[in-house]
């Protein structure tokens, strides 16, 4: 059996000569090679048209000063100007910092809560399956809709959130605003994101916990290892690959975060919760600085691609188990 993907073998299904198979097995109909090509080609073609072609176009534009609100101007190439502008712009670095803080805090909280919940659910109490499904609901919702309805919950006067806080701390409910206060807003987006995605980490960790065979604990029990010791020597090391996978997924997703935060705070107050995706949206779709925003988008691509590489490696590692 030779290589399958050869363009010259791509004949039309109706026109192809049947039974002319080059495979080891005598098979009637289209050859395996033709089928493989015909089956993979449409997906690749679609991705080339919708992802790669636009990407290449965008790379070209990133070297221009195109501004769609002034598109009557001739296309002017400015070399690397957009890139140097972005990388020397303190504001952009500040947005990246905001994004990094959001990613770190939200993922950290999700790991702690998610792992804790997984450990508890793994004790298989009665009805654990029902309650797990309840806990999973937030992550299935539309992030935009979530961001939107949390603005109601967090309204200082008409929302219930501040009243609950007031009940426990005694702080008057209308004395603070979770989305409107510079000191609180960054924590608000972390809070809502954690509410939404802690179940995600939980679900993956639960799979990790269930992958540990019982006999290892039995052996530890025979050796009279304490519960504490069992956790550090068995449970944690054996679930680390799963935990890593969850962290990478969440980190990439939160680095790209746009929808939920855009509706919850739209980057405000001021620019305290302006994540880099929101900056990009403003540059591209409000100021219409297409050349500049293309360059920024490419910088983000490269960052995510680096992370994606690590992610796929980790993914394969977990798969090997």
């Amino acid at each position: 059996m030779t290589t399958i993907l050869q363009p010259d073998d791509a004949t039309f299904p109706g026109m192809s000569e049947p039974a002319k198979s080059r495979t080891a097995r005598p098979v009637r109909g289209l050859s395996d090679r033709t089928i493989a090509w015909l089956f993979v080609a449409p997906t690749i073609a679609l991705l080339l048209a919708i992802n790669i072609f636009p990407l290449l176009w965008m790379i070209r534009l990133s070297f221009t000063s195109l501004n769609l609100s002034m598109s009557y101007l001739p296309l002017r190439f400015v070399g690397l100007d957009n890139f140097t502008d972005i990388l020397t712009d303190e504001d952009v670095w500040f947005r990246l910092q905001t994004t990094a803080q959001f990613v770190i805090w939200s993922v950290a909280l999700q790991v702690i809560i998610g792992y804790g919940l997984a450990l508890l659910i793994n004790r298989q109490f009665r009805g654990h399956s029902f309650w797990t499904t309840i806990i999973l609901l937030p992550m299935m919702l539309s992030p935009a809709v979530v961001g939107n309805f949390w603005t109601l919950l967090l309204q200082p006067q008409i929302g219930p959130f501040n009243y609950v806080i007031s009940l426990f701390t005694g702080v008057p409910p209308s004395s603070f605003s979770m989305t409107g206060q510079v000191s609180l807003a960054p924590w608000t987006i972390v809070l809502v994101d954690t509410w939404m995605w802690a179940p995600y980490v939980m679900l993956i960790c639960l799979a990790g916990l269930r992958s540990i065979p019982d006999y290892i604990y039995e052996a530890a029990e025979v050796d009279r290892a304490s519960a504490w010791r069992q956790f550090w020597s068995i449970t944690l090391p054996m679930t680390v690959p799963f935990l890593m996978l969850a962290v990478l997924f969440r980190a990439i997703e939160n680095f790209k975060m746009f929808d939920m935060v855009n509706l919850l705070t739209s980057g405000g107050p001021g620019s305290t919760t302006e994540l880099v995706s929101i900056t990009l949206k403003r540059a591209a779709f409000e100021k219409w600085r297409t050349g500049y925003s293309s360059a920024l988008a490419i910088i983000l691509f490269v960052t995510v691609f680096g992370a994606a590489n690590i992610y796929v490696k980790a993914l394969n590692k977990v798969k090997q188990r």
């Binding site: 089928i35 997906t43 679609l46 992802n51 679900l203 591209a284 691609f305 796929v312």
Partner: protein, 320 residues
């Protein structure tokens, strides 16, 4: 010692004690109740009157009304009580409800067309993605494809891009092709995003079907395509269904592309819901009613998908 090694007692060693189970159960239920409260609040708000919804302090106990739902589906104009008194008596319960607020229904709102858009774009892109994904996944699973791993990585990597960044060139491209704010444009875009998930998930599901089944069919004189249709697909049907639901949920929930690339004709629910506006700002009961209707299918799907959820959210990396 020996007792510990027999099967029945060995199991009890690993299983948590009743007390530990109770504590764990209590904590998990507490978390579940807290986590579900925001959703309960939104569903409750959907049944509040406008004044109850923005009451200060917020009302936990209220008289339920369908005002929010009526407001969601209609456009109303405010009239003088005299004008309303002169009208013929209301024909329907919702006419009556609206008139109690000194308003008259002027026509249907845009929510139905938006909902239809969500359905058409959701099902259209799901069908295409699952169709293309099944073919590609079968090829990746059963044939030796040169650079298969690179191609698979390429397929996945298209999903790693920030949506806002992807939207910039798509916006320009669609403008040239007259695809901006069209259902076709959104279907193509969502198909491209979903196909990466479909290929990865379905490859996992097809990998699990023993090759021997097909090989037996081939020996019996089936062609590859017949074997695929009559042997592999029936075996993969659960996997295909689960994948389809995941694609549908993505398209249903998607916001960034929808808000940047559509404005009317092809607008779906997520960018529409936050802009349901009444007199003086967001009409919260109507927004909550829309959210409730929008979320119900997702809740049903979550329950249906429970077994395959883990696979779906990890691109097939973790299976149970």
């Amino acid at each position: 010692m020996t007792a510990a090694l027999t099967k029945s007692t060995a199991h009890s060693i690993v299983e948590a004690s009743p007390r530990a189970k109770m504590v764990a159960g209590g904590l998990v239920i507490l978390y579940a109740v807290i986590t579900i409260l925001p959703l309960v609040w939104i569903v409750a708000t959907a049944f509040k009157s406008q004044s109850d919804a923005i009451a200060y302090p917020p009302k936990v106990i209220f008289e339920p009304t369908l005002e929010g739902f009526v407001n969601l589906f209609t456009v109303r104009t405010r009239q003088t009580p005299d004008f309303i008194a002169k009208l013929p008596p209301p024909e329907t319960w919702y006419d009556k409800l609206v008139r109690q607020r000194d308003m008259v229904i002027a026509g249907p709102s845009k929510v139905v067309p938006r909902f239809v858009n969500s359905l058409i774009i959701g099902f259209g892109s799901t069908f295409l993605a699952v169709f293309l994904g099944t073919l590609a996944a079968y090829a990746f699973s059963r044939f030796r494809i040169p650079l298969a791993n690179d191609l698979l990585f390429f397929i996945l990597s298209t999903r790693m891009m920030p949506p806002v960044a992807v939207a910039i060139p798509i916006y320009l491209m669609y403008r040239q092709l007259n695809l901006t704010d069209t259902r076709l444009g959104m279907i193509l875009l969502y198909t491209a995003v979903n196909v990466s998930l479909a290929v990865w998930l379905l490859k996992g599901f097809i990998d699990e079907i023993p090759r021997e089944y097909e090989e037996a069919a081939l020996v019996d004189g089936y062609t590859r395509l017949q074997a695929l249709r009559k042997v592999v697909l029936p075996q993969a049907v659960t996997g295909i269904a689960a994948t389809a639901i995941f694609c549908l949920i993505f398209s249903w929930n998607e916001y960034a592309f929808a808000v940047l690339l559509t404005s009317g004709e092809a607008q779906t629910m997520p960018p529409f819901i936050p802009f349901i506006i009444g007199e003086g700002g967001q009409d919260w009961p109507a927004v909550a009613a829309a959210t409730t209707l929008f979320v119900v299918p997702i809740v049903l799907f979550t329950v249906l998908l429970r077994k395959h959820l883990l696979r779906g959210i990890t691109f097939g990396a973790v299976r149970k």
